[in-house]
């Protein structure tokens, strides 16, 4: 576990991306941003992250493809929190099978989102 609490936010919607980043920064988290799955993989190559917040619907490489690619990558991998606008159970189940640690359905409540992120970033605190 790294000492930095770095979050990789993978979201193609600029508006939502900026707002989510502001949310996370307000909690003292360090946020890096990627606009699609391919960019996110490059970011992972460049540095370490404590959590990946991933949108499923993205151009070039969608969330599922990113999760599969991530699973195929050797070494320790950060947990992934999936944000999905799809409400069907199959999408959430599929994301979990692809390796997502948690799935949140949009629109998420701000407090719940922050609590979920923090629980994934600092699991020890939750257990404590």
């Amino acid at each position: 576990m790294t000492e930095y609490r770095r979050i990789l936010l993978v979201e193609d919607d600029p508006l939502l991306s900026e707002l989510l980043e502001m949310c996370l920064v307000a909690e003292g988290l360090d946020v890096d941003h990627a606009g699609d799955g391919l960019a996110a993989l490059r970011k992972l190559d460049e540095g370490e992250f404590n959590l990946i917040v991933l949108d499923l619907m993205m151009p070039f490489m969608d969330g599922f493809a990113f999760l599969k690619q991530l699973a195929a990558t050797p070494g320790e991998k950060p947990p992934v929190l999936v944000l999905s606008a799809n409400t069907d159970a199959q999408t959430a189940e599929r994301a979990r099978k692809c390796g997502a640690a948690a799935v949140a359905r949009k629109p998420v409540n701000h407090e719940e989102f922050v609590a979920l992120v923090l629980s994934l970033v600092e699991p020890g605190q939750d257990e404590a």
């Binding site: 989510l20 949310c23 307000a26 499923l56 151009p59 070039f60 490489m61 969330g63 493809a65 629109p107």
Partner: protein, 819 residues
């Protein structure tokens, strides 16, 4: 009993016996050489008893002496020869031959009978010559001439035949005098000395039977003589065997005539006539068939016909009882008010009456008759049914061409009943009872006669065959019965008229019975004639499905009942239809449902679920987060102000999404072709890939499809987008060889979604560009589709590029703006 082998093998054989017997009696003159040939063969003389010698008068005395030396028992000199010379001692003087034109009859003194051989009647009184062979000093003398001469001869057993002395070798006096025969060669022979052959009348020198060989035909004489000398009997029935066969034949004929149906009798009689003549000719030639054969067979025929007539009368009585039963049942059924039971009612009525075929006719005031419904026709009969005859018009056609008018009651097996109506106008039911129905033409014939009858009435003439009492009785009995049908007919018409779907009712034979205005309008648009459209025609025209598939499906529906749904595979005027059919008590109710709006609504639902719903959730998420951040004390003031500003952006974007949704569900835009709506490109592509799978399989190509699991909505007309994708796939697939691969790729960029299709052999770039740019009509259909849709693509805010080079394949690139 009525099976094929019995009808077509045994019966002709038996009738052949009949013909043979009749020919023995002389009813048929059979001009056939074979008959004469074999008739001679039946003359079972072990050896000739009479020898004819032709001699000149000056040789008569010497000849008589020599004949005595050779063993002749009796010597007779013909009268005409005796007149020219002094008769030799020991010779008798005969009578002059009868001078019958075409024949030569030798009149001999009474001689003992050698045999009682039978020669067919038509062979009597006919003379023939043939070569004869008699053993001579140095072998057989085969150049001699013989003759068969016959006359009517009543034998002791009552048979008519040829006298024993009729088989006569004819020798020349020269052969006798020159010592060609050994002594005793003519032992016991009766010798007739006649004038030289040069004095024979011309009639015996050549054949008199057409087709038979002339006198000089060696083959003909050789067969005949061989049969005579070897005493061969070609065929003969004897004693008990003959009796058994004749009794069995008579019984079989009687049974056949009893069991075969009237329809079979016509066909069997025709075939039997043809075959029996052939069989009869053969039998008369080889068999010793006598008068009792004909007598017994005629007796059997009489018995069989009597039995058949008796059975037919019984069946007629039964059908009369059935008609009475249905009349009472139909009267009770008048209370049935449910229109949907009309078809069931007709079916029940048909079953109760045993009606196989019937026709409901409406008479108009102007004397025109229009068929309203035809029941009970088979599929093959449907094509030639009366309702389709140009002599009749249908109620749903506009051409009220006046037909003849009609009277009442029945002719033969067709019954006509006036159902209801006022004077000069009414409805008539024509039907055929099964026990004696010939076919549907009986109805047509009856209708025509009825029409003529009424026409005569209208001219002030009375129909002579039917009195007013019988007519009135028929009217009352059957008129009440069918009155109930009309009530339901009107109810059904009202019911169909109330339906929004285009609906039509066919009878079991596929004849249109009734339809509503929507169906009539739809048929007109499809180019179908209402009166000439079968359920299969209709379903094929509406759905574009293959005829065989539709025929099979409807056939199963008719046989097993239930429901059938056939979605359209092609559009009519840009609209989609669903054909729904249900079997109702033997009839077929077909409904055509316009599914265009249903499909659009289904698409809206899909898009809402997959696209707009997700977009709205993003928007709401943004608004919620922005609002929360704007009031978050943890953030710096400038960040909070920024968050506040983002609320406006999120709200604006939400408004755009809602606008897209409004356009999607706008009813006025349902028929607006070409207008862009938010569309899920992935689901559209998958749908088209599924549709084109059969073509792909036939072409033996493989599609390499790459697409994201989720895609954003794009702006396009869904229907045109489907057509465009299908056309691109068709172009490439049809240009690809077996085993080749086609790349289909759906990718998303920041503001657009891109669909690329690449593969095939390709065209020269210039030619493809010309095909898509010009209005040429000799362009392949899929390329024409692409060409027609291209203007819409730019209207949607998208773009389209097509590239091709010979050998390098096609590459289509469609870019669509994200919604």
């Amino acid at each position: 009993m009525g099976g094929f082998p019995v009808l077509f093998v045994i019966l002709p054989l038996l009738l052949g016996f009949l013909v043979a017997g009749l020919s023995q009696l002389g009813f048929f003159r059979v001009p056939n050489a074979l008959v004469f040939d074999l008739a001679v063969a039946q003359a079972r003389s072990t050896e000739p008893r009479v020898v004819v010698v032709r001699a000149d008068p000056e040789n008569l005395s010497r000849l008589t002496t020599r004949l005595r030396e050779l063993g002749a028992e009796l010597i007779l000199v013909t009268a005409d020869l005796a007149e020219k010379s002094v008769p030799p001692p020991g010779a008798l003087i005969g009578l002059a031959p009868a001078r019958v034109p075409g024949t030569e009859t030798w009149v001999l003194p009474p001689l003992p009978r050698a045999t009682a051989d039978i020669v067919p009647y038509n062979q009597r009184q006919v003379g023939r010559r043939f070569l004869f062979s008699i053993p001579g000093e140095s072998g057989s003398i085969t150049t001699l001439e013989g003759a068969v001469a016959g006359r009517e001869h009543e034998s002791s057993d009552g048979f008519i035949g040829l006298a024993a002395a009729a088989i006569m070798p004819v020798l020349e006096a020269r052969q006798i005098l020159e010592g060609a025969f050994r002594p005793n060669t003519l032992d016991g022979k009766y010798i007739v000395i006649g004038p030289p052959a040069s004095e024979d009348p011309p009639s015996i020198l050549t054949s008199e039977i057409p087709g038979s060989p002339a006198v000089g035909n060696a083959g003909f004489h050789a067969r005949a003589i061989q049969a005579i000398l070897s005493d061969q009997v070609v065929f003969q029935l004897e004693g008990a065997l003959r009796s058994l066969i004749l009794i069995a034949a008579a019984g079989l004929i009687a049974l056949l005539l009893f069991y075969i149906s009237p329809q079979q009798r016509i066909a069997v009689a025709f075939l039997a006539a043809v075959l029996s003549i052939s069989v009869g000719l053969a039998l008369v030639s080889v068999a010793d068939i006598l008068l009792p054969v004909a007598e017994l067979i005629l007796l059997a025929l009489g018995l069989g016909l009597a039995a058949a007539a008796f059975a037919a009368r019984e069946r007629r009585q039964r059908s009369d009882q059935l008609r009475e039963q249905i009349a009472s049942r139909l009267r009770r059924d008048q209370d049935v008010q449910d229109p949907s039971r009309r078809a069931e009612f007709f079916s029940t009525a048909a079953k109760l009456t045993g009606v196989q075929r019937s026709l409901l006719l409406r008479e108009r005031r102007d004397g025109t008759f229009v068929p309203l419904a035809a029941f009970g026709l088979t599929e093959s009969e449907n094509s030639m049914s009366l309702a389709r005859s140009p002599d009749f018009t249908r109620a749903d056609e506009t051409r009220p061409e006046p037909a003849d008018v009609m009277g009442l009651v029945g002719w033969h097996d067709a019954q006509i009943s006036r159902v209801d109506g006022t004077e000069g106008e009414g409805v008539y039911w024509l039907y055929v009872v099964p026990s004696s129905s010939r076919d549907y033409h009986a109805i047509a014939a009856a209708a025509a006669r009825l029409a003529r009858s009424r026409a005569r009435q209208s001219d002030g003439l009375e129909e002579p065959q039917f009195g007013p009492r019988r007519r009135e009785k028929a009217e009352v009995r059957l008129g009440r019965a069918v009155a109930a049908l009309l009530t339901r007919d009107e109810e059904l018409r009202r019911y169909l008229a109330s339906l929004h779907t285009a609906s039509i009712l066919f009878d079991a034979a596929g004849m249109p019975v009734i339809m509503n205005a929507n169906m009539r309008s739809l048929m007109t648009r499809c180019g179908l004639q209402p009166s000439r459209t079968t359920p299969v025609d209709l379903a094929v025209a509406i759905t574009g499905t293959e005829t065989d598939r539709v025929r099979t499906a409807i056939g199963k529906l008719v046989r097993y009942g239930g429901h059938l749904r056939l979605p359209s595979e092609a559009e009519i005027d840009g609209r989609s239809y669903l054909v729904r059919a249900a079997e109702i008590a033997g009839d077929l109710l077909v409904e055509i449902i316009d599914t265009t709006e249903q499909e659009r609504l289904s698409r809206i639902q899909t898009e809402l679920a997959s696209g707009i719903d997700a977009q709205l959730r993003n928007d709401l998420e943004a608004i919620g987060l922005a609002a929360n951040l704007a009031g978050n004390e943890k953030l710096a003031p400038e960040k909070r102000r920024r968050a506040f500003g983002l609320i406006s952006q999120a709200v604006e974007r939400t408004r755009e999404t809602l606008d897209a949704l409004a356009r999607l569900v706008d009813p006025s835009a349902l028929n607006a072709k070409g207008e862009p709506f938010p569309v899920n490109p992935r689901s559209t592509l998958e749908q088209e890939l599924m549709k084109i799978a059969p073509l792909t399989e036939r072409a033996g190509v493989t599609l390499d499809v790459r697409q994201p699991a989720l895609t954003s909505l794009v702006m396009a007309d869904p229907r045109l987008l489907e057509e465009l994708i299908a056309a691109m796939l068709q172009v490439v697939i049809s240009d690809s060889g077996r085993g080749s691969r086609i790349a289909v790729s759906l990718t998303e960029a920041a503001q657009e979604t891109r669909l690329e299709i690449a593969g095939g052999f390709g065209l020269p770039a210039r030619r493809l560009a010309d095909s898509l740019a010009s209005n040429a009509v000799d362009v392949a259909f899929p390329l024409r589709v692409i060409r027609s849709i291209l203007p819409h693509v730019s209207h949607w805010g998208g773009a389209f590029q097509a590239e091709s080079e010979t050998g390098e394949g096609y590459k289509f690139n469609l870019q669509l703006r994200r919604a």
